[in-house]
Symmetry: C2
Amino acid sequence: MTQTLFGIEKLNHKYFLFIVMQNNKDSTDDETYRVRKLEITDKKKGFMELLQQLTICDPVTDDEFQNRFKELESYGDDHVICVIENATSSKIIATGSVFIEKKFIRSCGKVGHIEDIVVDSSARGLQLGKKVVNFLADHARSTGCYKVILDCSADNKAFYEKCGFKEKEIQMVKYFV
Amino acid sequence: MTQTLFGIEKLNHKYFLFIVMQNNKDSTDDETYRVRKLEITDKKKGFMELLQQLTICDPVTDDEFQNRFKELESYGDDHVICVIENATSSKIIATGSVFIEKKFIRSCGKVGHIEDIVVDSSARGLQLGKKVVNFLADHARSTGCYKVILDCSADNKAFYEKCGFKEKEIQMVKYFV
């Protein structure tokens, strides 16, 4: 939203008319699309359905969800899942996670691992992915990590470059099921 | 070690001379190069010096090492560092780590992340890297992970393919220091 303000100010015995055009778009977006930590009630707000847009994500029972939530909560700052809730629809429309790996290298350094970034298909183009990634990277930095890493498809490389990441290695995988 | 055995056996009223050449190399190697979990005394056995062959790894004090060791130990099976000790020299000559990430996707599934694989430069060609990777992948499987992943340079791709891994995505990184 753009606000236009008019006023008159006296300076050196002269009167000046001033006009200020204030763009409130960012602050409005910040309120509508605030990033916060996952809450146990987010299952009812479509959190699992959002994850289904990312990969295989079969429904889980409330008990299974709560057990996993409490397990992750017990790690405190070492494993954070964040979400963006649409304030109007009360639906979760973006999420991502980061966990902090503790190493012996780099003077007992720490590395943040970002995982499971997804933005609802109806909410693309609002920079929500970038908000989520920045939130997680800031969290990793604030906990003392010397770097944050993630794995992505070649298609998503340009997006992560806009978030300040650079391509480094290749990811290898071994499936058990 | 190769053992040669001679013997005589009676079969259908005839005597047969038999010669058996038995190759004990594998079992001897298994004893000499056993994979085990990191112990707090491994700092004195060159564990940190081995990590220096991997990346930047400044020396840490005994207190720093013990604190990090105890921190990781508190995760139990969710973060395992393994080593191979040379039984003759009592030096740590290979290591690697795996930590178990707990997710909501894949029916609250789990993923093993393999990190910091290194084999002492004097012990290459003994398949110790493969032993370490297999140990860590087996651990991930035994804790219920549906997959295990790792990041590596293009140069190491062929090695991990021999360990049963396939290339999947690209790794992106953002450094803070």
